[in-house]
Symmetry: C2
Subunit: 86 residues, 2 copies
């Protein structure tokens, strides 16, 4: 299972696009705060496996390539934990 604190410490590279608390100001990027943990985990793996293509997905694919299964689980736990009101 994912570890929230570990996820927070691994989220430094996510912030530029997804915001400090998983709430973005750039409308082309999705908010992550409070999203379902299982869905977040699934979608990061989908980017890593190349199941999502196209110009936006290509950006994400670069970022997730180096993430381990545990890194992904930690990040999913962290962003899910932020809740809707962050």
């Amino acid at each position: 299972a994912g570890d929230i604190d570990a996820g927070k410490s691994k989220s430094a590279k996510c912030v530029a696009c997804h915001g400090m608390n998983g709430k973005v100001s750039i409308p082309t990027y999705p908010h992550l705060a409070g999203q379902n943990e299982v869905y977040l985990d699934y979608s990061m793996h989908a980017y890593k496996k190349g199941e999502r293509t196209g110009n936006m997905a290509n950006i994400m694919s670069v970022y997730v390539q180096k993430l381990s299964d545990q890194d992904i689980a930690d990040l999913a736990a962290y962003y899910a934990s932020l809740g809707d009101k962050q």
Copy 2:
């Protein structure tokens, strides 16, 4: 631009997986309420164009195939409008 009321009336088929107000109880599906309108529009087009593949994406691809650009815009406007607290 998308029309919120039109989007609401077109959302009947979305509810089964994405919940009555875009907040889901099934953790494998993403919440949509309050998500960025531009991102929602982008991602529905990505599913329609086949840019997202894999078992979960294949479900979405079926649902969006029949949607016009206007349908997608309306649905994006509607789910973005629901906000985080719905």
